[in-house]
């Protein structure tokens, strides 16, 4: 299948490795990946902070760029939630039925990365090898807006060498919340402290998630504490394969 990658603005800027990993996994599974260079952002930050008209023009740009895409893969659960939950409402609000039709036509083709693999492509074993203890944080948007909770777990459990440890209190927010992390930094950090406590309790080496925004928050706190726990996007784990040397050792 021809899959169009919407990398998202912050992955593009801060986490190019996540994008490369998505490309590797999808190509390894035999799909063709395209990257439409005109793409920018989904508008989530503007929308959630109250800048609706700015979000609307970003939405229009997104619709233009991905108009004829066959399948759209997005390695960020909160951006998918933005598109799925808010684009229809935004279209209704401007009262333009053409835009609403455009959104409705697009939505069935928009998938979060793990959702695409498991629900659309029917794959759980992507042939990855990752000999580490891994726990999984479920982003609030994945859990409550997309209902994507089990898909990443199934993918992780199928990874060679990987030991999966469930995260206690997995339904609790890490405290990121976009501009919340800066506007209410103290509360955000208090929430993060609880989350880090849960992560450390698992004794995992790696904390994975389907969204780099939670990961940058948790990773930022773990890094400051020199906790020795890495935060890694699910795609990067699934992209890891056994080296010939590792294969020879086994």
């Amino acid at each position: 299948m021809r899959i169009s990658l919407f990398i998202t603005c912050y992955n593009d800027t801060l986490f190019p490795e996540t994008g490369k990993a998505v490309v590797r996994v999808l190509e390894r599974l035999g799909h063709e990946v395209e990257f439409r260079s005109a793409q920018t952002c989904c508008g989530q930050m503007h929308y959630n902070t109250g800048y609706a008209s700015e979000a609307l023009s970003i939405m229009r740009h997104f619709l233009r760029v991905f108009d004829d895409a066959e399948l759209i893969c997005i390695p960020s659960s909160s951006c998918v939630a933005m598109i799925r939950e808010h684009y229809p409402k935004m279209a209704d609000e401007i009262g333009d039925p053409a835009i609403r039709r455009h959104v409705d036509a697009l939505l069935p083709r928009v998938f979060e990365f793990s959702e695409l693999l498991v629900d659309k492509l029917g794959v759980t074993n992507v042939g990855a090898y990752y000999p580490h203890t891994v726990t999984l944080h479920t982003p609030c948007h994945a859990l409550r807006a997309l209902h994507v909770r089990d898909q990443p777990i199934r993918l992780l459990r199928a990874v060679g060498g990987l030991q999966f440890v469930p995260l206690p209190r997995e339904d609790e927010c890490c405290g990121f919340g976009g501009t919340f992390a800066v506007k209410n930094a103290d509360v955000s950090v208090a929430m993060l402290a609880d989350k880090i406590g849960c992560i450390r309790e698992t004794k995992a080496e790696v904390c994975a998630a389907t969204d780099n925004s939670c990961l940058v928050h948790m990773g930022g706190g773990l890094g400051r504490q020199q906790a020795g726990i890495r935060c890694v996007h699910l795609a990067e784990i699934l992209a890891s394969a056994e080296t010939p040397a590792e294969q020879a050792k086994r």
Partner: protein, 472 residues
């Protein structure tokens, strides 16, 4: 004057939250109490196969009432009056307080026993009563603790949730002037009982709030756990009930839905121990004079905004507070209002026409736990965003506006985004160490005060793609 307690004078949420976060005892108490209620709620909600249908039904009933509020309020007035009650209409807090004081003074009474009335905290009735020479006694155990300690409620259902048993024992012993007082819950409730019984038997005016006002019968319903409410609404000669106009439900039969949802959501009980429903007055039984004060105090302005109207669906169960990861860190005082937590964050600023408490809509990470827990399905995250939008439209801080405009400009076109990425890469140079940014100036300094940020890597994804794949 429209007033929500002392919310108009309260410090901004981030400031008050910082203060609360520094109180280790408070955080411990709040964490423990919310954890207990959440677990109880989860188990009694879990046993309801039709929970989601009940939520839908409640939402629809409330939606219907709010669309026809004028009709149902007048129906309630007629039916309540027919049963012997007196109905008063109060535009705002001051008017409501004035009506209540006039009724009490008209009977030359100087004391009132109160129960289950957060709405009277909203209007600051106790302060008004006291300045009119009338002594109010709170009789709900938690409200009594708040009153004796000159404290403020920190939770919608469990107002003294921030206090633990040791703190309450100390308070009772000091304020009730007890020589000895044991540490067990039974000891504390026995002390409160002795303190309150005498008031129940002596005071001739009762005052209550209402969980529901039923239009087709003119009845009022109060649910509670202690029985002190039952005392307040049956023993005095006269009873005054203050009801927010949104508390109306069309018919007695609608209680079927709400009395399943409310106790489970509020305290994790299948049924409240005491459900009091009364209709007007009855000769020789209970209060012989009954007044209902219907309060607007900003509610009709909330009603006028279709996008956030469902804020008025709230049945004050407090489930959103217990579910909220922000509330669980700060407790209720940080919200500066009698209504705390996620519902307080949307209700308090709206009641005040968005003139005060405008930091509250930002007091959420939009995690959605409140919406999931809400028994009447108020989409709180959506309303938070809507209110942020109203704040931005009325004029957000200049720095934020410029940053958002600049970001939107960059996101308008991929080549502009590429340039912005290059600028970010250059601008971070003085701050980047080992691929991390540990100390940044400006608003991002709030992030780096406790968290690292990854440095912007030398090559963006789009640059990598162009270099590797050469097209796009």
């Amino acid at each position: 004057m429209i007033r929500v307690g002392e919310a108009a004078q309260a410090p901004d949420f981030p400031v008050a939250a910082r203060h609360a976060l520094g109180n280790a005892q408070l955080r411990r108490n709040v964490r423990h109490a919310t954890e207990v209620i959440r677990n109880k709620r989860a188990s009694v909600v879990g046993e309801m196969p039709d929970w989601q249908e009940l939520r839908d039904a409640a939402h629809e009933i409330k939606d219907h009432v709010l669309r026809h509020l004028d009709v149902y309020l007048e129906q309630f007035e007629d039916n309540c009056a027919r049963a012997g009650g007196h109905v008063h209409w109060a535009r705002d807090a001051d008017e409501a307080n004035r009506i209540v004081i006039d009724i009490i003074q008209g009977h030359r009474e100087r004391e009132v026993i109160k129960v289950k009335t957060m709405t009277s905290d909203e209007t600051r009735l106790n302060a008004a009563l006291e300045s009119a020479g009338i002594v109010p006694y709170e009789t709900d155990l938690a409200d009594l603790i708040i009153q004796l300690g000159h404290d403020r409620p920190s939770h919608i259902v469990v107002p003294a949730l921030h206090k633990n048993r040791a703190e309450i024992r100390e308070l009772f012993q000091r304020t009730m002037k007890l020589e000895t007082l044991g540490p067990e819950p039974q000891d504390l409730t026995a002390a409160a009982r002795a303190f309150l019984r005498e008031k129940f038997l002596r005071v001739r005016v009762g005052f209550s709030g209402a969980n529901f006002a039923i239009a087709d019968s003119g009845s009022v319903c109060v649910v509670e756990s202690e029985g002190n409410g039952r005392m307040c609404v049956t023993l005095p000669k006269m009873l005054i009930t203050l009801v927010g106009v949104e508390k109306i439900i069309p018919s007695f039969g609608d209680l079927e839905v709400f009395l399943q949802l409310l106790p489970r959501s509020a305290t994790g009980e299948r049924m409240n121990p005491y459900n009091s429903i009364w209709t007007g007055v009855r000769g020789g039984d209970g209060p012989q004079e009954f007044h209902v004060v219907l309060l607007d105090n900003g509610r009709t302005t909330v009603l006028a905004d279709e996008a956030s109207r469902e804020t008025l669906d709230c049945i004050r169960c407090g489930a959103c507070l217990n579910a909220c990861p922000v509330y669980r860190q700060t407790g209720g005082h940080a919200y500066g209002s009698v209504y705390s937590g996620p519902i307080g964050a949307i209700l308090t600023p709206q009641l005040q026409s968005m003139q005060h408490s405008t930091s509250l809509p930002y007091a959420s990470s939009l995690c959605g736990a409140c919406y999931e827990a809400c028994p009447v399905k108020i989409n709180i995250p959506e309303i938070l965003i809507h209110l942020r939008r109203r704040i931005v439209e009325a004029g957000a801080p200049l720095g934020e506006r410029l940053a958002m405009k600049a970001a939107a400009f960059a996101f308008g076109d991929a080549s502009r985004l590429s340039i912005a990425q290059k600028i970010a890469r250059a601008a971070q140079l003085p701050f980047a160490r080992d691929g991390r940014l540990a100390k940044l100036p400006g608003p991002l300094g709030a992030w780096t005060a406790a968290r690292d940020l990854p440095a912007v890597p030398p090559e963006s994804f789009r640059e990598w793609w162009k270099r590797e794949r050469g097209k796009g």
